[in-house]
């Protein structure tokens, strides 16, 4: 069966993979064949005809040909060359070469480079402008039909990579062009501004607006002069040689003014990495590359375009100290000395445990490490926690109970390659857009099955093969019932259970109450459907489960996460490619912030503070005694303030006063503190209560590492210096430690990382050298640098290498009642993040999504007599919020949805209360019952006309190149046809 596929190219023999794409093979041989529409990340599109070669005597597109054993390929024969030249000429009919005055002339223009490499000196036919205008209507990128060569890359990426399905090429009109939806302006379409079309465009047709008039030395001139200059460039050129010489020199000069540094996105937990192009402090564009390990060429609107907050006028540039009824700007020395003195005093008077620290999931691993070092070494308390308490701590708990590592079992590639994906309580397309696109692509093109369990009929639900709406908080029930049914039928993976799993009998007994009848009654899913789900799960060759806040932010968040892991264990879905548990991390560094020790019970690497051996290791390294008993978590800290047991809180990069549950209760606590220190970019709602506000620098202004949801540690490089007057968090923490008598002496974050990795065995082999550029490591990392993209291939991290099935019980604890009769669900919007501190600073985002809105079902709207644009007040036990209504089928019955991305009167956390997950103290954000008071019956819709939710996508596979070939004016470029 192992037949070798030997192919002859220009007389030389090459060994190919069976069915390998011919162009792929040619590209490994060093033979040069022009190729403009082809891009490895997209695969063959077959629109540009430039890669024509001769195969066994016939001219064909290399990118459209699979290799066969014995194939004879010629790339250099005169008539092959003629055909290639004909194709290139056709491209230049559509694309005017005025490189020197083009913003895309940065050395990477694929048209320019292809023409130069091919040695094309003259154009046989003149450039033919189209009759279309430029489309400048969108916020972030523009389309120039006169420069567009119709290669279709943008369509391919929109249809099959991002899978937003907005772009098509209309091949049937006189002059084909790229169109949005059913031919509407960019701004009015379903485009979500992921920006990938502008990333993959080989030229300046689809271009980021940030680049326009900024990238070149001569491109910022007024339009009239620019036009003259374009004409001038054309007149001076007699052939392309001199033109290229001049434009290449200009491109080289641009390297002096434009800096391109790699960074890791600071929004969600997917961990997209990309180069940021900057000129001084100005951001020209964000450019992901095929090398980006988590995202490849993909981005979402926030990562690609949401960086305005970095240069916002509202950035704090001086430390602030509270003086009676106002803040006073002071210099750094004064602020640091003040903080140190007050902390020393409180520690001396009331003891170290009266001080508490909250690290930031927005800050780097190094900064999390220093926050807990400050708490433990300098102050002597374990009162240190981070915002993962608000979201994914229950998932971590569930995984620790069963499989031993509190992180995703594999990589995003495993999610993409799995045969069956279950998402539970995850609005993936809006919360983790780039990861969602991988699922959308696999489902659309590669027969992956997608089952969605959610209250809301969001995008993933609409796309799903099966969509179920279990009643709020009942996921544990159907998960356990499905597990029981699988066992009852004998469909479990017996050999996996024998080899790798402990605790089967006790677990089996614990499932007794979870009958189909019970589950159906509680969840509202029919017995028939539950049985079908069980059967398909049992039969699936591989399965992953992705879950998010819809599971964890409940009183049984940890138990439900555990139930997911139990189900994966009995079906043998751990340790193989395409399997595993994926709690999707919400922030860029939720994973890393906990990994590096900002937790009340763990040192870095999840080693217990109570473990004497571990503590001794840190005591030796830090030369001081360290506290043993676990400290307070976030939730306990707030309670302790109310109880008078906590006097100081230090919050780094977290708007606790908006994002914690029951904010009235939280802000009341802030008011009671003796000393409240907030470190942030802005004067946030939380900072308004502070005694000292320390102005920090965001990710683009510093070096460090983030760890994404895949446990992948990636480096970020400084794009530009910190804004005047601000400092990176690690420098601020170091200054405070120093003024309290501990001189850490770090000169660069790498030194912090190397110290941490010398202490925590989970990261033993992590070193900045191994993380250079786009290189990354997925923990655990052995001393020799070996990492583990897929966990559990060699057993589980317990003594006998076996996982544990964990028995569970269920009790329904929450239900709306007669007075508070509506259930409020909440979550993210694609284009905003968290409380909105960052994304609302972007004018381009704001003009399309200016504020949060309340989603109300058609049934409820009818019942209450309200329409689109109505204003309502939601009242819960804890507080009230007001907002504007949109009526939609995304929610049903008496469930309403309020995006969490608002910090005004619509802030969700005015409604939430003190209920928490019983195991981790994670607030039960998703268990809110409210009553609704109508303030106004109808009004202006809160969703503007140019919001993508109003668009009409046009799904198709790829670019429909066949329609191009069917056109009467199309002839395949060959010796005959081309002339």
């Amino acid at each position: 069966m192992n037949e070798h596929t030997v192919v002859k190219i220009n007389g030389n023999e090459y060994l190919a993979d069976p069915d390998q794409n011919l162009l792929d093979l040619i590209n490994t041989t060093g033979e040069q064949v022009p190729q403009i529409c082809y891009n490895e990340s997209l695969g063959p599109i077959q629109t540009c005809d430039t890669c024509i070669v001769q195969v066994d005597g016939e001219l064909v597109r290399a990118c459209g040909t699979s290799v066969k054993a014995g194939m004879k390929v010629q790339t250099k024969l005169p008539h092959v060359h003629t055909a290639q030249k004909e194709s290139l000429d056709r491209i230049l009919e559509k694309h005017e070469l005025y490189c020197t005055v083009c913003d895309y002339n940065n050395g990477s223009c694929e048209i320019h480079n292809t023409m130069a490499e091919f040695g094309l000196e003259h154009q046989s036919r003149p450039f033919q402008p189209s009759s279309y205008e430029k489309d400048n209507s969108g916020s972030f990128y523009r389309y120039d039909p006169d420069q567009c060569i119709l290669c279709g890359r943008c369509v391919e990426v929109c249809q099959d990579v991002q899978v937003n399905e907005t772009l098509t090429i209309d091949w049937e009109r006189q002059e084909p062009r790229v169109i949005w939806d059913n031919d509407v302006p960019i701004d009015e379409s379903s485009c979500v501004n992921c920006g990938q079309c502008s990333t993959v465009c080989p030229c300046n047709a689809m271009m980021e607006k940030g680049m326009e008039g900024e990238a070149g030395f001569l491109t910022d001139t007024e339009p009239g002069i620019l036009k003259s200059m374009i004409n001038l460039t054309k007149k001076v050129e007699t052939g392309y040689g001199p033109l290229f010489a001049v434009s290449d020199s200009e491109a080289a000069m641009r390297e002096e003014t434009i800096s391109k540094e790699k960074t890791v996105c600071t929004y969600c937990g997917v961990g997209c990495s990309f180069d940021v192009w900057t000129k001084g402090r100005q951001i020209l564009k964000v450019e992901p590359s095929a090398e980006s390990p988590a995202n490849g060429i993909s981005t979402c609107v926030k990562g690609k375009f949401g960086w305005d907050y970095v240069n916002s006028e509202e950035r704090l540039q001086k430390p602030l100290v509270r003086r009676d009824d106002h803040f006073e700007e002071v210099d750094w020395d004064e602020a640091i000395a003040y903080v140190a003195d007050r902390m020393k005093k409180i520690k001396a008077e009331k003891g170290a445990d009266h001080l508490a620290f909250i690290a930031s999931s927005k800050a780097t691993n190094e900064e999390s490490y220093l926050m807990q070092k400050l708490a433990r070494q300098v102050i002597g308390t374990n009162n240190v926690d981070n915002c993962s308490r608000y979201c994914q701590a229950p998932a971590t708990k569930g995984l620790f109970r069963t499989v031993g590592y509190g992180g995703d079992s594999g990589s995003i590639d495993d999610i993409a390659s799995s045969k069956l994906v279950l998402t539970i309580g995850s609005n993936t397309a809006e919360s983790h857009p780039v990861l969602a696109s991988r699922i959308k692509r696999s489902q659309k093109l590669f027969d992956q099955k997608l089952f969605v369990f959610d209250l809301r009929k969001h995008e993933m639900a609409k796309r799903a093969d099966r969509f179920y709406q279990p009643k709020s908080g009942t996921d544990l029930v159907w998960l356990s019932a499905v597990a029981k049914y699988i066992l009852d039928q004998g469909w479990e993976d017996q050999s996996f259970l024998n080899d790798w799993v402990n605790g089967f009998d006790e677990y089996r007994r614990s499932l007794e109450p979870f009958t189909m009848e019970y589950a159906s009654e509680l969840t509202g899913i029919s017995i028939e459907e539950l049985k079908q789900v069980a059967q398909e799960i049992a039969e699936a060759e591989s399965m992953v489960v992705c879950w998010a806040m819809g599971v964890t932010q409940h009183m049984l968040g940890s138990d439900t996460s555990t139930a997911i892991s139990n189900l994966l264990l009995i079906t043998g879905n751990y340790g193989r490619p395409g399997t595993g548990a994926y709690p999707l991390r919400g922030h860029n560094n939720v994973q890393g912030c906990s990994d590096f020790g900002s937790m009340p019970n763990f040192f870095p690497g999840y080693e217990k503070t109570e473990d004497d051996e571990v503590r001794a290791r840190y005591e030796k390294a830090w030369k001081t005694d360290l506290p043993k008993e676990p400290g307070m978590d976030n939730h306990e800290m707030i309670e302790a303030i109310h109880d008078g047991e906590l006097s100081m809180m230090y919050v780094m990069g977290e708007d606790t006063g908006i994002v914690d549950a029951n904010i009235n209760y939280v802000t009341d606590a802030f008011e009671k503190l003796d000393l409240f220190i907030v470190q942030d970019l802005f004067l946030t709602k939380t900072a308004e209560y502070a005694d000292v506000v320390l102005p920090a620098s965001p990710s683009l202004e510093k070096d460090g590492t983030f760890t994404n949801t895949e446990r992948r540690i990636q480096r970020l490089y400084k794009s530009f210096e910190p804004l005047e007057g601000t400092k990176p968090d690690w420098e601020i923490l170091q200054l405070i430690a120093k003024s309290m008598g501990y001189d850490w002496g770090y000169t660069h974050p790498s030194e912090i990382m190397h110290e941490a990795c010398g202490l925590a065995s989970l990261f033993a082999g992590v070193h900045y050298d191994r993380l250079e550029g786009y290189k990354s490591l997925q923990w655990p990392v052995a001393e020799d640098g070996t990492d583990q993209p897929l966990l559990f291939t060699d057993g589980f991290p317990f003594e006998d290498k076996k996982a544990k099935l964990y028995p569970l019980e269920y009790e329904l604890m929450y239900e709306p009642n007669e007075e508070f009769d509506l259930h409020v669900n909440n979550g993210r919007l694609l284009e905003h993040f968290h409380e909105g501190n960052m994304t609302y600073k972007s004018e381009g985002i704001r003009r399309k999504t200016p504020n949060a809105f309340i989603e109300v079902s058609e049934e409820l709207a009818k019942e209450r007599g309200i329409e689109e644009g109505a204003e309502v007040k939601l009242i819960s036990d804890s507080g009230q919020a007001t907002g504007v209504v949109t009526v939609t089928d995304r929610v049903r019955g008496k469930e309403i949805f309020l995006p969490l991305n608002d910090n005004g009167k619509s802030a969700i956390n005015y409604l939430t209360d003190n209920r928490v997950d019983k195991d981790t103290d994670t607030p039960a954000y998703k268990e809110i019952a409210v009553k609704m008071k109508v303030l106004k019956k109808k009004g202006k819709s809160p969703i503007p006309h140019n919001n993508h939710r109003r668009g009409n996508p046009v799904p198709q596979v790829s670019v429909n190149v066949q329609k191009k070939w069917q056109r009467e004016d199309y002839v395949f470029p060959s010796k005959k046809g081309g002339q």
Binding site: T221, M229, L232, K235, V236, T238, E329, E671, L673
Partner: protein, 155 residues
Amino acid sequence: MARAITDIKRYEKTREQQVEENVQEVKEAVADNKEAILKGIEMLRALEDEGTLDTMRAFTRRKDETLANFVKEIDKDQYEPLLRNIPELVFLLGDLNISGLRDLSSRLNNGVEAMENEGTKQKTSFLDLAKALKDPEINRSMTMLMHFLKGMGRK
């Protein structure tokens, strides 16, 4: 009790403080780059001596206008032949037989010299012309000219 507040009393540096800080920053930069700055001063001096500095300053100040004037003017149709000629000239240089031309031009110079010395004073009769052909220098020139004419007429 620490109520939420948003008022910020800005920390204003006095003009003197600001100047002092800036001067200090510049001083440090000068100290770190002494050599380069001294060389820079020499260069400025040279530019000033030649009057180039004024031109540069004027051009920089008016860069956009001058560029606009130039580009708009040169984009007019009447300059098209000129613009086309510029690159053509470059190619012409590639085609020319430069060493042959150099020989020819030194001969032309000799001719001009002789012409200036004697050529303007004497008169020449038809007979003188016939006689002159016997002069080897004149004969060589005539022969060369005849071959040049022949070559030029060749297709």
